[in-house]
């Protein structure tokens, strides 16, 4: 692996650019380099690992029992990448992707590193931009003291910092238990874990139970539950949550059916599962569909994880949530696909080399469907019933405003909603409000999220400074091609 510190030393063009250095991106980069492709792996974090293996090479949390063996598995993946011939650009933001007019069929990507931007060409692109937490808007969630569980995990892995004071963890999904056990092991005072998993999900998930019982998830899950449930106070069947406090979080109001109690606390960590991070693939023009079981927008992909845009593949959790191990395997398969499209690998070689990876992947994904169904969030946590709850933090738009615009002004989709309320037009471009806005419109109009649609994402996918863009080398055509 060749690290890049100065964007000026990045080549003009690569066979393959991989975006994201989580398990999918690292594996895709390694495999593609082994197959003889020139590879650039660009990642906005300072060190490799993505979210799941964040700071794996630098974390101050050296007691391996705290973050657990699943985390430390990342060391092997990173070590393998370090031995590869790929070029690695850490701290590098990829902010746009479009066709390269000079080389038909290729792409031009906007990269920014160290305050300088450049356009780099790639024949193939693998997006490994992973997942993001599903928004969890409850009354009071913008109070200081409330954060997402993922943010708490970043602080723990990256800096060894844990929330101080009485901490409550609330929500649903397998990561909720993992985080509870990691934080408890790291010394956090967890006063309660509030489980919002709807009891009615069990009947829907039952059909998927046999696969789950034969899956690697089961043993892992039981171990986590045993580790946490015995020691921590668990409240299940939570139907309503509201963070309380004037200028600072003071407690959380918990509804379980008709039972109501308030738990005083200093920190509240919210989490209700993860979603594929689709901002980049959306801005790239890849086709997406709404997956009812994952209750999320997913890119439409073929068996090599190739998207509807020829030359762009999407690996890892960005292709649909599957977890770290399956992300790494999907990265390899996407690399085989890219190498084949570039003529570096014959069809039969590709299929033969991918076969064992596919077999392992299907074993890893077995049982996933059960998790999707059992942990599907309740409607009241997808679209807050309280009108005053803020749903777009960038533009401070409330749930009531969205419902009103959908009902009274007949706004049928999130793109029209922008014109009236500006939700989704802040710096995060809807990462934090998109799923909630769609849900609110869908519920108000009595239609499905699929019918409601999603934001059309605009580049830059991540903000980039005017000075950087202005310093991009201008072609002569650009200077001449000016119109009124």
């Amino acid at each position: 692996m060749t690290p890049v510190k100065d964007i000026a030393t990045v080549a003009e063009a690569y066979d393959l650019i991989v975006v994201g250095a989580g398990p999918a991106g690292l594996s895709a980069g390694v495999r593609a380099a082994e197959l003889g492709l020139s590879v650039l792996l660009a990642d906005e974090n300072p060190t490799p690992g993505g979210q799941i293996y964040r700071a794996i090479t630098t974390t101050p949390v050296t007691d391996r029992s705290i973050l657990g063996e699943d985390y430390w598995r990342g060391s092997g993946i990173v070590a393998r990448f370090e031995k590869s011939a790929a070029t690695y650009a850490p701290g590098c933001t990829v902010w746009s992707i479009g066709p390269d007019e000079a080389t038909p069929g290729s792409f031009e990507l906007g990269l920014s590193l160290g305050g300088k931007a450049r356009m780099i060409s790639a024949a193939q692109v693998i997006l490994a931009t992973g997942a993001q937490e599903r928004p969890f808007p409850i009354p009071g969630w913008t109070l200081p003291g409330v954060m997402t569980a993922g943010a708490a995990q970043i602080a723990l892995k990256g800096s060894g910092i844990v929330p101080s004071g009485r901490t409550v963890i609330a929500g649903c999904g397998p990561l909720l238990y993992l985080l509870a056990s990691q934080l408890a092991a790291a010394g956090t005072e967890i006063v309660a874990v509030l489980d919002t998993t709807p009891r009615s999900n069990w009947s829907k998930a039952l059909a998927a139970l046999p696969d789950f019982l034969r899956s690697p998830y089961l043993a892992k899950g039981l171990k986590l539950m045993a580790a946490t449930r015995g020691k921590l106070r668990f409240l299940t069947g939570v139907t309503g949550l509201a963070a309380q406090g004037e200028k600072q979080l003071g407690g959380i109001r918990v509804e379980r059916g008709s039972r109501v109690e308030t738990i005083p606390c200093d920190a509240l960590l919210l989490h209700q599962g993860v979603l594929p991070s689709v901002n980049f693939s959306n801005a790239a023009g890849c086709e997406h569909y709404f997956d009812e079981e994952q209750h999320a927008w997913l890119p439409r992909l073929d068996e090599w994880y190739a998207s509807s845009v020829a030359g762009i593949a999407i690996a890892g959790d960005g292709a649909g949530i599957g977890g770290a191990e399956s992300a790494a395997l999907r990265g390899e398969i996407a690399a085989f696909g890219a190498a084949f499209r570039l003529g570096k690998l014959g069809e039969s070689q590709r299929d033969a080399q991918a076969a064992p990876v596919r077999a392992e992947l299907s074993r890893r994904l077995r049982g996933r469907r059960f998790l999707d169904l059992i942990y599907k969030p309740a409607p009241q946590f997808l679209a807050p019933p309280q009108d005053e709850t803020i749903i777009c933090r960038c533009e401070e738009v409330t749930a009531g405003q969205v419902r009103d615009a959908a009902a009274r002004l007949g706004v049928t989709g999130p793109n029209q909603m922008k014109a009236f309320l500006r939700c989704g037009m802040g710096p995060c471009q809807g990462r934090l409000c998109g799923p909630t806005v769609v849900e609110l419109i869908a519920q108000t109009r009595g239609v499905s999220p699929a019918e409601t649609g999603y934001y059309r994402l605009r580049p830059p996918v991540k903000p980039v400074t005017l000075a950087e863009l202005a310093a991009l080398p201008a072609t002569e055509a650009a200077v001449k091609a000016v119109v009124r």
Binding site: E108, L469, V482
Partner: protein, 375 residues
């Protein structure tokens, strides 16, 4: 998808600000109207333009329509029950040097001779008072004080919603596939049924050229994709919309501090796919102008850039008025990157022409007959 009646006095094709305005004004005159839009109202140029409400620097042929429109903009809530986010802080054309300034002066004198007084010269001192952030070297410029800006998609939707409230049958997500004679009527065939009307209005924007060509009246229209970008919020530093005389730049700070940057640099339009592709090296030229002229902007971050699909005619003037070939056909498209301000007034004038056969607002030089025989 098929709703409502199957015939009307007028069928309007296209749900941009022009189509919606014409539909609304026709309905206000008591005509029954069906409006057909292939996507949703304001999906393209009308919804994603810079929102400039500008009389400044317009072609003389457009000024009467623009005047009619400006009167409506200043009382817009009265018409559509929504202020459309309209604010009027003027628009300023900045001369970067003496040569620019001389051309500004010649233009304003010419307008005055024609009886138009909306553009006024300003000197370096007044320029600096109105636009303090502008570079010290600029010797003056032109101001149009009643100009301003509005929120494009909200304005277009406001026209649509008001039209619906007074009875216009708006059919969104319906695509016109064919237009043909049927006795004294026009039959408009769509992918969701058909409808009949003695009069049809082609307000299909970048797609208007195809409809005109199908009717045997081709025009030299190109679908283009003017690019815009917007910054994260900055401290307030500029009120009017600013455009440059020499280099191409338009510039507007909103109440929330974000700054919209335009200038007519083109990306690539893919009208068949409803999609545009940005050209970052051209956008870089656009931003370099900002970097040079407004030092305060250098540290700003760009949070979004986009382009809409717009119909540009070779002579950069719209096609507006009756068909040169067919009774009952009216054209209102190809506004060539400056149609947003004209929407309210053009709709009123078009409705007047449709309902009464004439209008006092001169539209000379805008008719489709100027292209007759050129193909």
């Amino acid at each position: 998808m098929r709703t409502g009646r199957d015939s009307a006095d007028v069928v309007v094709i296209g749900g941009g600000i022009h189509g919606c305005s014409t539909a609304l004004h026709c309905a206000l005159r008591g005509l029954s109207v069906i409006l057909i839009e292939k996507d949703h109202a304001g999906r393209h140029a009308s919804g994603v333009n810079a929102g400039g409400v500008r009389q400044l620097a317009r072609h003389v042929a457009e000024i009467p329509l623009s005047n009619a429109s400006m009167a409506i903009w200043h009382d817009i809530a009265n018409l559509v029950d929504d202020d459309c986010g309209f604010s009027s802080d003027g628009q300023v054309l900045v001369a970067e040097n003496e040569a620019d300034l001389a051309q500004c002066r010649a233009r304003v004198e010419d307008l005055n001779l024609r009886g138009f007084h909306h553009e006024e010269m300003i000197d370096a001192k007044e320029l600096r008072e109105i636009v303090p952030a502008v570079s010290e070297d600029c010797p003056g410029g032109v101001i149009s004080r009643r100009d301003g800006a509005a929120i494009p998609l909200r304005a277009t939707q406001a026209f649509k919603l008001k039209a619906q409230r007074i009875g216009v049958d708006v059919r969104e997500g319906v695509r016109v596939t064919k237009i043909e004679h049927d006795g004294a009527n026009w039959r408009v065939v769509t992918d969701a049924g058909e409808c009949l009307a003695p009069r049809i209005v082609n307000a299909a924007g970048a797609w208007g050229g195809r409809i005109a060509a199908d009717l045997g009246e081709p025009v030299p229209l190109e679908a283009v994709a003017p690019m815009l970008s917007i910054t994260a919020p900055l401290p307030a530093f500029i009120k009017p919309v600013v455009i440059l005389r020499g280099r191409k730049l338009s510039f507007k700070q909103f109440g929330n501090g974000t700054v919209l940057i335009g200038g007519g640099y083109l990306g690539r339009a893919l009208p068949d796919e409803n999609r545009t592709i940005l050209d970052w090296s051209k956008l870089a030229s656009n931003l370099k102008t900002v970097w040079e002229l407004f030092p305060i902007m250098r540290g700003a971050s760009i949070v979004r850039a986009w382009a809409g699909i717009e119909g540009r005619i070779a002579d950069e003037l719209p096609v507006f008025g009756r068909s040169a070939k067919h009774e009952g056909v009216y054209h209102q498209f190809g506004f060539s990157l400056h149609g947003f301000q004209l929407g309210p007034g053009a709709g009123a004038v078009m409705a007047e022409i449709i309902a009464t056969g004439r209008s006092n607002v001169p539209i000379d030089g805008l008719g489709i007959e100027r292209f007759a025989g050129s193909h």
